[in-house]
Symmetry: C2
Subunit: 209 residues, 2 copies
Amino acid sequence: MANGYNRTAQKQQILAAAKEEYALHGYSGTRMQAIADRAGLPKANIHYHFKNKQRLYLAVLDQIIDTWNQPFENVSADDDPAEALDNFIRTKVQQSYDDPAASKLFASEIIQGAPHLQGYLRSQMRPWVKARAGVIQNWIKAGKMQDTDPYQLIFMIWASTQHYADFQTQVLAILNKAEFDADLLHETASFISNIILKGCGLSVKEKAP
Amino acid sequence: MANGYNRTAQKQQILAAAKEEYALHGYSGTRMQAIADRAGLPKANIHYHFKNKQRLYLAVLDQIIDTWNQPFENVSADDDPAEALDNFIRTKVQQSYDDPAASKLFASEIIQGAPHLQGYLRSQMRPWVKARAGVIQNWIKAGKMQDTDPYQLIFMIWASTQHYADFQTQVLAILNKAEFDADLLHETASFISNIILKGCGLSVKEKAP
DNA sequence: AAATTTATTGACCATTTAGTCAGGTTTCGT
DNA sequence: ACGAAACCTGACTAAATGGTCAATAAATTT
């Protein structure tokens, strides 16, 4: 799905601005003018780089997916489940923290029925999950962890890790905090990891030295 | 927040149609005409019942919140944690199943910074969570369950239960299913309940006779 | 340094869409 | 039955917004 490089820094600037705006206001709620303003450029310039609103949106989605997929490729049946799952969870939480807009934008797209991502879900994401589910299944067969539905497990990890990006507003309001700081991030990651690992019957161990 | 009764069935029809449209296309992406079409009414009729697009949106949110709050009021420190949490989880999953549009709409609103719900989050939801957190804290003090951050626990339950409504499209695509049926619902609720309860060090018991 | 391609921009336009309104119809109290 | 109030609706309007384009500037090539 990735379409190579984005030539200019300008283009990156537009993509970044667009990501924020789309995340904040949804696809329809986003105004090309607002993207232009955020990027500090005249609107017509954006239409020079991107044919139209939808193409720009797709380019943003593209970039998000590219970034996300990188870290998860290298889990294998030889790994230790507890360590691998812990790592998976912490990486996801970190990503949510680093780029909440990306998470929000993706979430909005899915919520609205993934009109632009049906193909991606089917042809990229499903095989990816299938492969990870296979690894988990192997762990179970090898007696490394108790019987647990791998798909449900992955969904639950996704849900609980992304929640802190997508529902940040709600979380902060409830906790009565102004922003999501590094402490809360760490606390959250540990909490989720603890519950999930223990829930799977895995012993939670601190990182080996 | 509730504003009394909705006099006519017509009004309910409009609210239902609006909920679907807003959930499906977001606030800005929703067209008054589309709501009218779905409700089978001329557009002007909608403007007779609701001053404008935003008021209609607020009315929809209002109704959702009203419905949601009903079941959770009656948890007390005397209850058994495992049973209460299990019940909480199953109710949330059931709600997601019964009215995914409500969940989606609420999620979109929060993702976009809760522009219409800041007040509600602060003045209604925060105290509500605080009270539930207090109950959980009491359980912990009474030795009924191990030490667990109540807020994090509640967030995690919210996240994992609502995920099946909000990200339904993604879940179905990954599982390669056409729709979310009652079996999957039950399976999901049990899975989440198992992981969470075990994760909290609670023994999972089937419903007492 | 001229020519040519690439990038930038303000002004403009066509379309979409929320909202209005005057006039008609139904319902309801008396 | 009658008047009044509530309800309904087709036709219209004003504003917002995505997108275009011709003119201009900058970079690149020859």
